[in-house]
Symmetry: C2
Subunit: 331 residues, 2 copies
């Protein structure tokens, strides 16, 4: 069995990277602690919590985000705000990024005023975004050509896990890169797993989310059908003591009222949006197409989530598949 | 929310039942123990273990099966062999049945020489087959018209669970019927759950197996895709500590060598055949169609298992979906 066939996926073009002199823009400021400063780019729903956990653990933080509100929140908590990803790279040689999609990673790293434009030799770049494995590989190649190390480290676990430093990181990178990244990732999560070379963190993540997307729709269909016969809590209890059980049925049941404190019991607010699930299932389909893997249910799940997005479910938690399949049926 | 819409599913026609006098054919034989004798019809892979557990617990058994080999095995273990289901009913008023499909249940209960033809008033009929809920309801109606009680009690758990009396029974029936049946079911399983009126045991079972069929194919696809990037044991470990985890990934992984002692590690022999899964997914689709429930992945899973049966996978364990999707790809 041949492993590591990432090269099959082809290499996408990288935006022009501008290599400038290594100016440490913030080198004049006094360190806030004995720890080396860490850069953080991408302060969204997940990133802002992850960044705060680094501050809590005593690391001076240099942050960047396109949203002024997002950076203001971190500035109040003690972070230094940089004017661009390039300036983050000029100020520190350990950088974490948490961005929505492949295109944002390409822009933040390889675009004008990107990290690569002011990258310091010996830098460690940790990208926790969930993106195309081929993009991770391309970023790693550019980083290596500049004497730096890049690892992909996408996460499992939602906003609450990010807040409570309970994330699982799936890391793709060299042994040395993994060891170096692990020291930082352990500050933001509870599990840090080395999956293999660069790109395998992404592969593990999109595989997990493909199975998750399938399981959530499967659970939604099953609950919908079974509720025609019995109360949903009883049905969930039976499934969860039987062979149909899965994470979606046990701890994140899509039927309101079956599990307390999950998005389905809060009108599908918060959690993991259907649009993000559609994106991840699209990445899985791209990987499946490139590697000639048959994924009939992954493909169907992708289309269902894409249709959900087209029907206004994009911002609702992905467990709203239950509501989408149910429709407005009179019960 | 309206529950118990089983009547929507329509009532199938029942074969002519011949009501004869209540002759206790075996009333002359001395009881083997102080327990009342129990009848058992259907001594296949599951039924023969369930019947043996009743013998082990001290119950005299009166058995019937179309297979002479099957009844001979039980005779050696102390069971009395009846010439027909009717004769089982004439000899005892507590009967368990474990049959492959709806048509066999109709024949055994309502056919010529069926149980109903010599049914004793006050009898308890426990059917552990997995069949169309509407057939269970029809059998229950006929039983009631003859002064007997019928419950549907399909099982979760495979051949090993049947052997070790670790099955889960999902029971549909009246409160009194459930209580009476529970005393016998506890001798053959570890969990006995009351789902609601007659037919709801079947509904719970086919819901569970629909989610199981979806999860197994989803796990198979995911493992197939992920193995292009990393070793299967590492991939399974990551899935099982993440939100993609399910029974099929954790304890019944379809990739040979990931979990010891499951069919995938034994050339997909034993276990739960793909043909039976195709049958159960067909029952789920019938229920979904009748109740106007959207089950897109359940429908796709049904078609995949049906295609597997057409390609010679019918007798292999249902985890062979992994091999079917993989095909003969050179790795």
């Amino acid at each position: 069995m041949a492993l590591n066939r990432l090269s099959r996926f082809g290499i996408i073009s990288v935006r022009t990277s501008k290599c400038t002199s290594f100016v440490r823009l913030f080198s004049g400021s006094a360190p806030l602690s004995s720890q080396q400063p860490v850069g953080f780019v991408g302060l969204g729903l997940m990133g802002n919590h992850m960044a705060r956990n680094l501050i809590k653990k005593g690391y001076p933080l240099i942050v960047y985000d396109v949203s002024k509100d997002a950076v203001e929140g971190l500035r109040k908590d003690g972070a230094t705000v940089a004017a661009s990803p390039a300036d983050v790279a000029a100020a520190t040689n350990n950088i974490v990024s948490m961005l929505p999609e492949s295109v944002h990673v390409e822009t933040v790293y390889a675009g004008d005023n990107g990290i690569f434009s002011k990258l310091q030799k010996g830098s460690l770049l940790i990208d926790s975004s969930t993106i195309d494995p081929a993009v991770s590989q391309t970023m790693a190649q550019v980083a290596e050509s500049k004497g730096a190390t890049f690892v992909d480290a996408p996460v499992s676990g939602g906003v609450n896990a990010a807040r409570d430093a309970l994330l699982t990181f799936m890391v793709g990178g060299s042994d040395a890169g993994f060891s170096a990244a692990k020291a930082y990732l352990e500050l933001m999560g509870k599990n840090v797993v080395h999956c293999g070379p660069v790109g395998t963190g992404q592969a593990a993540k999109i595989c997990n989310n493909m199975l998750l997307g399938i399981s959530m729709i499967g659970t939604s269909e099953t609950m919908n059908l079974g509720m025609k016969f019995m109360f949903p809590k009883l049905l969930a209890k039976i499934l969860n003591m039987s062979s149909g059980r899965c994470w979606s049925s046990e701890v994140y049941n899509p039927v309101p009222g079956v599990v307390d404190g999950v998005p389905s019991s809060n009108n599908y607010q918060g959690g993991f949006g259907s649009a993000l699930m559609a994106k991840d299932l699209g990445l899985a389909q791209s990987a499946a197409t490139a590697s000639k893997s048959a994924t009939p249910l992954g493909s169907a799940a992708h289309q269902i989530y894409r249709t959900m997005v087209n029907h206004g479910f994009g911002g609702k938690d992905f467990s709203s598949a239950f509501k989408f399949l149910q429709g407005d049926e009179k019960k």
